[in-house]
C-alpha cells in the first residue's frame, strides 16, 4: 500500500522534501512509515522522541495501523503561539 508522509520544520529541512510517498506492507504502523522514510532519506532525525503523528489530519498514536492512501503527518515538537 501507498502512504503519503508529510514533513515539517526540522524534518522537512533535514529530508530536503515536504512529502515522501512510501510503499508499505499491510499492517504497517505510523512509526514504520517514518522508519521507511529514514531509509530513503537518512538525514532525517533518528529519534522518535517528541515526535507526534496525525493521520488524515487527526492526531494518532505512533502504533496506529495505516491504510492505503492515508496521509501521515510527522509532527516534530510544536512551538506555536
Amino acid at each position: 500500500m501507498h502512504v503519503t508522509v508529510r514533513l515539517f520544520a526540522s524534518h522537512r529541512e533535514a529530508a530536503g522534501v515536504r512529502e515522501i510517498v512510501v510503499d508499505l506492507p499491510a499492517g504497517a504502523r505510523a512509526v514504520d512509515a517514518l522508519a521507511a522514510c529514514r531509509r530513503t532519506h537518512p538525514a532525517l532525525p533518528s529519534t522518535n522522541s517528541g515526535v507526534a503523528f496525525a493521520i488524515n489530519r487527526a492526531f494518532a498514536g505512533p502504533d496506529t495501523v495505516l491504510a492505503d492512501g492515508d496521509e501521515l503527518a510527522v509532527l516534530p515538537p510544536v512551538a506555536g503561539g
Partner: protein, 139 residues
C-alpha cells in the same frame, strides 16, 4: 464576517478578533496577544519564520474551543494565528474569550493559549545574529 478560527499569512487585526466574540450577555472579554520578542532564551532575535500544517490547524483550534466550552462557562472564543515571516513586535497569535463573568474568561483564555502551544501543528524558526534554529519548547 471573519472566521473565528483562522490561520493566515496576513497581519492579525486584534480588535477584529475581539469583536468576533462580543455579545450582549458577555460582560467580560479577555484577550491574549502573543508578539515576537527581541530576545528569546538568551538570544537576540531578528525574525521568526512560522511554518504550519495548514490543513490541520483550524481543526485543532476547533478542538481547543470545544475543550474550553466543556471546562469553562464562556460565551464565545476566537483564535487567529499567523504564519510566514514575522519581525520583532509583530503579532503571532490572538485569542479572545467572552464570558458573563471574568474568572471564566481569564481561565479559558489561559487554558486556550497553553493548549495551543501544546498541540497545534505550528513550528517556528528563530533567526538572529547567532544563527537560526527551530524552537523546541518542551519542558
Amino acid at each position: 464576517m471573519t472566521e473565528r478560527f483562522l490561520l493566515s499569512e496576513k497581519p492579525i487585526d486584534e480588535a477584529a478578533v475581539a469583536a468576533l466574540v462580543a455579545s450582549p450577555g458577555a460582560g467580560a472579554l479577555v484577550t491574549f496577544v502573543g508578539r515576537v520578542r527581541a530576545r528569546s532564551r538568551g538570544h537576540d532575535v531578528d525574525l521568526l519564520e512560522y511554518e504550519a500544517y495548514p490543513e490541520m490547524v483550524e481543526g485543532v483550534f476547533h478542538q481547543i474551543a470545544g475543550e474550553v466550552h466543556e471546562r469553562f462557562e464562556v460565551a464565545a472564543i476566537a483564535i487567529h494565528h499567523r504564519t510566514g515571516t514575522l519581525r520583532v513586535g509583530d503579532t503571532s497569535v490572538v485569542i479572545a474569550v467572552a464570558a458573563e463573568h471574568r474568572p471564566a474568561a481569564f481561565d479559558a483564555c489561559r487554558y486556550a493559549i497553553d493548549r495551543l502551544k501544546q498541540i497545534t501543528p505550528i513550528w517556528k524558526k528563530e533567526h538572529g545574529p547567532d544563527g537560526a534554529s527551530w524552537v523546541d519548547e518542551r519542558p
